[in-house]
């Protein structure tokens, strides 16, 4: 599926020797993602690296983000596997991809998953991997709520909250990484650093959470994203109101989301202010309740 998508959206250097060369180079250098910077001086191997790939930073940073996010996704799925319901998974992917298409990171391939967990939660790994639990889906009443929740997660990715918080980037900025790629001696160090980054993302998602302002920012941009896609603006607020009730009455069901996010009531108030400021509180766009009911049972 993704291969086909790649064909429709050819990479800038697709098919050229330059792309193949860069891909090979990235495959080598990305092993050193997140290597610590240790030397100040420019080294000749590093200079050569810069000559080998024109502007490697942007492309390589993006590859680093995807690579870390992909491994995080594989770890999340080891904890909570996919719900075995291809129709449901496809439906969530269609809603999520439609929302993501209205965001500003069209360079990413987007993947959405319903995971087999009773807990009420949703989370996003860098690079385009978005998860919503079966428990969360059970609490939603219409497609606008689903789109709103997915849009919040998409916004974490488009706004690069985790990438910036953990400084996930390619090793080109690290002089040490440049040297070690050539001599191989400390690639292991770089690889361990990569693995640690994956651990840190997991901690952010399941233990520590992001900064309060990042969560409120994801709510803000998520709501606007859902509106741009054409959904009822009140989707995410409706879901948050239900989450707030859980926080009052059934804390266990929302344990992780409560630990990693500001209180739902606070988020709800911020969104209500935003809707009023933007003049979208009375905007009539569909919630798609019937279609949601047909797909989510």
């Amino acid at each position: 599926m993704t291969r086909a998508r790649g064909e429709r959206n050819p990479a800038r250097f697709a098919g050229s020797w330059a792309w193949r060369g860069l891909a090979g180079f990235l495959a080598l250098c990305l092993m050193g993602v997140l290597a610590p910077a240790a030397a100040e001086e420019e080294s000749s191997p590093r200079d050569r690296l810069h000559m080998l790939a024109e502007d490697p930073r942007t492309e390589a940073d993006l590859q680093a983000e995807i690579r870390v996010g992909r491994e995080v996704a594989a770890r999340i799925l080891a904890r909570d596997p996919l719900v075995e319901d291809p129709e449901l998974q496809r439906y969530v992917n269609l809603v999520g991809s439609a929302v993501a298409a209205h965001g500003d990171r069209s360079e990413l391939s987007w993947y959405f998953a319903v995971t087999d967990s009773d807990e009420v939660n949703a989370y996003a790994a860098p690079g385009g991997y978005v998860f919503v639990t079966r428990g969360a889906l059970k609490e939603m009443r219409d497609e606008a709520e689903l789109a709103g929740v997915l849009a919040h997660e998409i916004a974490h990715i488009t706004r690069r909250h985790i990438v910036d918080a953990l400084d996930i980037r390619a090793p080109e900025d690290s002089p040490l990484a440049g040297i070690t790629r050539f001599f191989g001696g400390a690639t292991e160090v770089a690889r361990v650093a990569f693995s640690e980054a994956v651990d840190q993302v997991m901690d952010v998602l399941f233990e520590d959470g992001l900064r309060r302002e990042d969560e409120l920012d994801a709510d803000h941009h998520g709501l606007m994203l859902a509106v741009r896609t054409g959904y009822d603006p009140a989707g995410l607020p409706r879901y948050l109101a239900r989450l707030a009730e859980f926080e009052e009455d059934d804390k266990d069901a929302v344990e992780t989301v409560a630990r990693t996010h500001p209180p739902a009531s606070e988020r709800l108030e911020a969104l209500e202010r935003l809707m009023e400021e933007q003049g979208i509180d009375g905007l009539e766009q569909p919630a798609r309740e019937e279609r949601f009911a047909r797909h989510v049972r």
Binding site: M1, T2, R3, A4, R5, G6, R8, N9, A11, F13, M31, E59, Q63, I66, R67, G69, R70, E71, A73, A74, R75, L77, A78, R79, P81, L82, R90, N93, V95, G96, S97, A98, A101, H102, G103, D104, S106, E107, S109, Y111, F112, G127, G128, G184, T187, E188, R191, F194, S195, V227, R228, G230, Q278, G279, I280, G282, L283, R288, E290, R291
Partner: protein
């Protein structure tokens, strides 16, 4: 005369630079253009990913733009200073993760010589990843075109 010509040329160059700075590019797959800076305003058109637009003015989160014959307001969140990047597929990483999956039970580091990438991976093989599930997740991804078609099914659904 020469001085005037020089000034004229200078002004032309400066205006050219300014014009270039006022060009933005659509970053989303599509971006709706509104008559006024509000989501409930009339929609006057739609732009596609990569379309260049000329900035006319700005108001809050909205940019007034011109693109050919089309003029209106677009959310600033959808516009960037440079053309959008090409789509990047994560699939090139498959071999590495698969290798990790296959070898995680028998991670043995070899001594001496320059380590290969595979050996480095063995050293940090992660037993907590599920590569098969990851592949299943990636296989269920849909294209943007499918998703947009699905989104536009709304009218016939509303009628049913």
């Amino acid at each position: 005369m020469l001085i005037r010509l020089g000034i004229l040329l200078g002004l032309l160059m400066v205006s050219g630079v300014l014009a270039a700075e006022d060009t933005r590019y659509v970053q989303s797959e599509r971006a709706e253009v509104f008559e006024t800076p509000a989501f409930d305003a009339a929609r006057v058109g739609e732009l596609q990913r990569g379309d260049p637009v000329e900035r006319l003015s700005e108001e809050g989160d909205w940019l007034e733009i011109r693109a050919g014959e089309l003029e209106g307001w677009v959310s600033t969140l959808l516009l960037g200073d440079s053309e959008p990047s090409a789509r990047v597929s994560p699939l090139h990483g498959d071999e590495e993760l698969e290798m990790e999956g296959r070898r995680r039970a028998s991670a043995v580091a070899t001594a001496g010589g320059v380590r290969s990438l595979e050996e480095d991976e063995e050293l940090v093989a992660d037993e907590n990843v599920d590569v098969d599930q990851l592949h299943a997740l990636e296989a269920q991804g849909v294209s943007t075109e499918e998703a947009i078609r699905f989104l536009h099914e709304r009218d016939e659904d509303a009628e049913s």
